[in-house]
C-alpha cells in the first residue's frame, strides 16, 4: 500500500504533487496553531464530543463551505481547461478525475451537509424542542459524514481519485477499466457517509413527529419543518438503494463477484437502474428543505403569513412521493421500451405541478407585502426565476424523444447546474444568511454580501447560459478538449469567465464572514429580522438547552402571534417556575466510531484486509461500549438556568 502511494505520487501530475504538499502544510499549520493557542482541549470538549444539535449544525456548515471551496477549485480547473480549443492544461485522466470528484463532492459533501446544517440549526428550535430525538445518533451521523468526506478527499493525494464520473457506472467503474484505488474510495466514502445520512433521516422524522411543543399540531408547524420531514422521508427510502448499488459494486471490485460485469451473467444496466433509484430522489432531498427555507424567508421579509399554507404542505408531500417514480428519466436512452419511457416521462413532468404551486404561493405571499431586501431575501428572490428556468429545461429533458437529443450534452450540464446552484445552493445560502445571527449572535455584513450576491448571480448566468447553446451545438459533457473547427471556443470562453466571476463571489462570502466576525452587527435581541417562528423567541446564540421553558403554541407563526398579543396588551399567561432541565452528556464515542469506519474504509480501499478488520472491530467495540454504557445524561439546575438566561 505504502509503495503504491509513493509510486503514485512520484508519477503524478505536478498539480497533484503541489496540492499534496499544500495539504500537508495546511495540516501542520492547523496542528501548530491548535497547539500554540492551546486549543486542543477546547476543540475536544466543546466541539468534537458535542451532542448539541446547534454545534453539530455549525460543524456541518463549516465542512460544507470548505468542500464548496474544494469543489469550486475543481470547477475552475475544468473551466480553465475548456476555455480555449486544444488546451493542454489538464490531461484527460486528470480531467476525468476532476469532474468525477467535483460532481460527487458537490452533491454529497456540499449539498447534503448544507441541508443537514440547516436542519440541525433550525428544526428543534422551530418546534420548541430541547434537542433532537437521538442526540447521540446525531453526533454519529456527523462523524460518519465527516470521515466519509475525509476518505474521499484523501483520494487525490493517496493513490488516485475516482475517474468514472460521479455516477461511477460499470463497466467503467469495474476493476477491468479502473484498476486503481480510485473507485474504491468512491464506494467506501459514499457508503460511510450514507449510513450517517440514513440515521439523520430517521432522527429528524422522529424529532418532528414526536417532539413538537404542546399545542403545535402538524398543521401549525412551520413550513421549514414540513419540508425537512418530506426530505427525510425521501432520505430513508432512497438511500438504501444507493447502499445496495455501492455494496454490489464494491463486492465486484474487492471480492471479485460479478454483479455488474458481463462475465458470468452480471448486468451493468442494473447498476444504472439502482443508482438512479437513489440518484433522482437525491436531488429532491437537496431541494425540498430549500422550499421550506424560501417559505420562511419570503414570509418573514414580506411581513405576511405564507399564502396557501395547506397547499404548500400538500405539494411538499406530493413531491416526496412522486420523486420515486421518475428515476428512469436519467437513462431514457438505455434501451427500455416506449411504455417504460412514456410512464417515466409523464411522471417526471408531473413534479412540475406541485412545484409550480409553490412558486405561485411565494409570489402571492410577496404580493402587497412590505418587502425588505435583506440578503436572505435577495437570494430567495433570485432563486425563483432561476429555478423556474431550471424547471422548464428539466421538463424539456423529461420529454423522452427530445432527451435522445439532449442526453449527455452540455444542455444537461446547464440544466442541472441551474437547479443545483440556482436552486439548492442559492436557497441554502439564503438559509445560511437567515439563521446566521441565530447561530453566532451577529449578522453578516450586508454590503460585502451584496457584492458576493451580484458576482455570484451574474457569474452564474454568464457561465451556464452559453452551455445550453453549446449543448445544441453538439458539445458533449465529459470532454476534456475540443478542436477549434467545432466553433465551440467563444461560448466556452464566455462560460469560463462566468465561472471565475462566481469564484470571486465565493471569495466575497469568505471575506464577508471574516470581516463580520469582528465588525458584524451584534444581535442583542435574538430577533433581528422580526421573525415569525419560535427560534426567534430565543436569545442568540441559543443556550444549549434551547428553551428554559417549553413554550405552548396556539397558532401558526407562533412567535409572531405572541408578539402581536403582547402589542395588544394581552400578556402571556404567567410562566410556571423554572424546573431543572435534563440534557444528554457529551460523548467521544461518535468520533471514535467515525474514525473506526474510516480505518475500515481505508483498509478496504487498498485491499488491506488486516487494516479493514481492525477498523471493523473498532466499530463493533464502539457499539458494544455504547450498549453497555449507563449514560443517563445530566441535569441543569434552576440556578444555572437563571444565570444563563440573565446573561
Amino acid at each position: 500500500m505504502i509503495n503504491q502511494i509513493v509510486e503514485y505520487l512520484r508519477n503524478a501530475d505536478p498539480l497533484i504533487q503541489m496540492s499534496a504538499v499544500a495539504a500537508v502544510l495546511t495540516l501542520l499549520g492547523i496542528i501548530f496553531a491548535l497547539t500554540y493557542f492551546k486549543k486542543w482541549g477546547w476543540l475536544w470538549r466543546e466541539w468534537i464530543t458535542t451532542v448539541d444539535h446547534k454545534k453539530i449544525g455549525i460543524m456541518y456548515l463549516i465542512c460544507a463551505l470548505l468542500m464548496l471551496f474544494r469543489g469550486g477549485v475543481d470547477a475552475l480547473l475544468m473551466r480553465t481547461q475548456l476555455a480555449f480549443p486544444n488546451m493542454n492544461f489538464l490531461d484527460s485522466q486528470h480531467y476525468n478525475e476532476i469532474f468525477s470528484t467535483h460532481g460527487t463532492i458537490m452533491i454529497l459533501f456540499v449539498a447534503m451537509p448544507l441541508i443537514f446544517a440547516m436542519m440541525n440549526i433550525a428544526v428543534p428550535l422551530q418546534i420548541g424542542a430541547r434537542d433532537v430525538a437521538f442526540p447521540f445518533l446525531n453526533a454519529v451521523s456527523f462523524w460518519l459524514f465527516f470521515f466519509g468526506a475525509l476518505l474521499f478527499n484523501l483520494s487525490f493525494i493517496l493513490g488516485g481519485s475516482p475517474d468514472a464520473g460521479w455516477v461511477s457506472y460499470p463497466p467503467l467503474a469495474e476493476l477491468s477499466h479502473s484498476p486503481g484505488p480510485g473507485i474504491n474510495y468512491y464506494v467506501l466514502s459514499l457508503q460511510i457517509s450514507g449510513i450517517g445520512s440514513i440515521a439523520t433521516g430517521i432522527n429528524f422524522i422522529v424529532t418532528i413527529l414526536k417532539m413538537r411543543a404542546p399545542g403545535m399540531t402538524l398543521m401549525k408547524m412551520p413550513l421549514f419543518c414540513w419540508s425537512v420531514l418530506a426530505s427525510c422521508i425521501v432520505i430513508i427510502f432512497a438511500f438504501p438503494a444507493l447502499t445496495v448499488a455501492l455494496a454490489l459494486l464494491g463486492m465486484d471490485r474487492i471480492f471479485g463477484t460479478h454483479f455488474f460485469t458481463m462475465l458470468h451473467g452480471g448486468n451493468p444496466m442494473m447498476y444504472v437502474n439502482l443508482f438512479w433509484v437513489w440518484g433522482h430522489p437525491e436531488v429532491y432531498i437537496a431541494i425540498l428543505p430549500v422550499y421550506g427555507i424560501l417559505s420562511e424567508v419570503v414570509s418573514t421579509f414580506s411581513r405576511k403569513r405564507i399564502f396557501g399554507y395547506k397547499s404548500m404542505v400538500a405539494s411538499l408531500m406530493l413531491i416526496s412521493v412522486i420523486s420515486y417514480f421518475v428515476w428512469v428519466h436519467h437513462f431514457f436512452t438505455m434501451g427500455a421500451g416506449p411504455g417504460v419511457n412514456s410512464f417515466f416521462a409523464v411522471a417526471s413532468m408531473a413534479v412540475g405541478i406541485p412545484t409550480g404551486v409553490k412558486v405561485f404561493n411565494w409570489l402571492f405571499t410577496m404580493f402587497r407585502g412590505r418587502i425588505r431586501l435583506t440578503l436572505p431575501m435577495l437570494w430567495s428572490l433570485t432563486f425563483i426565476p432561476c429555478f423556474a428556468v431550471g424547471g422548464a429545461t428539466g421538463i424539456m429533458l423529461a420529454s423522452a424523444p427530445a432527451d435522445y437529443q439532449f442526453h449527455n450534452s452540455y444542455f444537461v450540464i446547464a440544466h442541472f447546474h441551474q437547479t443545483l446552484i440556482g436552486g439548492a445552493v442559492f436557497g441554502l445560502l439564503a438559509g445560511m444568511y437567515y439563521w446566521w445571527p441565530k447561530m453566532f449572535g451577529f449578522k453578516l455584513n450586508e454590503t460585502l454580501g451584496k457584492w458576493a450576491f451580484w458576482f455570484f448571480n451574474i457569474g452564474f448566468y454568464v457561465c451556464f447560459m452559453p452551455q445550453y447553446a453549446l449543448g445544441f451545438m453538439g458539445m458533449t459533457r465529459r470532454v476534456y478538449t475540443y478542436p477549434a473547427e467545432t466553433g465551440w471556443g467563444t461560448l466556452n470562453f464566455v462560460s469560463t469567465i462566468g465561472a471565475y466571476l462566481m469564484g470571486i463571489g465565493f471569495l466575497f462570502i469568505v471575506v464577508q464572514i471574516l470581516y463580520s466576525i469582528r465588525y458584524g452587527e451584534r444581535d442583542t435581541t435574538g430577533d433581528p429580522w422580526d421573525g415569525r417562528t419560535l427560534e426567534w423567541s430565543l436569545p442568540s446564540p441559543v443556550p444549549h438547552y434551547n428553551f428554559a421553558q417549553i413554550p405552548t403554541v396556539n397558532e401558526r407563526d407562533a412567535w409572531w402571534e405572541m408578539k402581536q398579543q403582547r402589542k395588544e396588551g394581552i400578556l402571556p399567561p404567567t410562566k410556571e417556575p423554572l424546573k431543572p432541565i435534563h440534557m444528554p452528556n457529551n460523548s467521544s464515542l461518535p468520533f471514535f466510531m467515525g474514525l473506526a469506519f474510516f480505518v475500515a474504509g481505508f483498509g478496504l480501499v487498498f485491499n488491506q484486509f488486516i487494516i479493514a478488520t481492525v477498523g471493523l472491530i473498532g466499530v463493533v467495540v464502539c457499539m458494544l461500549w455504547r450498549s453497555l454504557e449507563k449514560d443517563t445524561g445530566h441535569w441543569i439546575s434552576v440556578d444555572e438556568i437563571k444565570q444563563m438566561e440573565a446573561s
Partner: protein
C-alpha cells in the same frame, strides 16, 4: 432524550436476539437456495420471495416494534409508504429491465 419508562425496562432484549438470529438464518437460507439448491429457476424465485416476506415480517415485529404503539399511528403511514416504495422499486426495476430479454 431518554424517557423514564425506557430506563426502567431492564429486561433482557430477547425479541432483538430472536429477530437477529431469525434474519441471519433467513439470509443464509436464501443464499443456500440460490447457490446450492438443485431446483428450477421458477421455484427458487418463489422460495426467495417467500423468504423475503418472512424477512420483512421479522424486521417489523422484532426490531421495529410494529405491535407496540403510543400516540398517533404515524408508523402505519410510514409502513404503507415503505410498501409503496418497495413495490415501486422492485416492480419498476423488473419492468425497466425487461428490455434485456430482447437485447441479449
Amino acid at each position: 432524550m431518554m424517557n423514564k419508562e425506557h430506563l426502567s425496562k431492564k429486561t433482557f432484549p430477547w425479541a432483538h436476539v430472536i429477530g437477529y438470529v431469525g434474519s441471519i438464518v433467513l439470509t443464509v437460507l436464501a443464499l443456500w437456495f440460490t447457490v446450492k439448491a438443485p431446483l428450477s429457476q421458477g421455484s427458487i424465485i418463489t422460495i426467495l420471495l417467500a423468504l423475503a416476506i418472512l424477512q420483512i415480517l421479522i424486521q417489523l415485529i422484532f426490531f421495529m416494534h410494529i405491535t407496540e404503539s403510543r400516540g398517533p399511528a404515524y408508523h402505519s403511514i410510514a409502513i404503507a409508504l415503505g410498501f409503496l416504495f418497495t413495490f415501486a422499486v422492485v416492480a419498476g426495476s423488473l419492468w425497466v429491465m425487461t428490455f434485456n430479454s430482447q437485447v441479449q
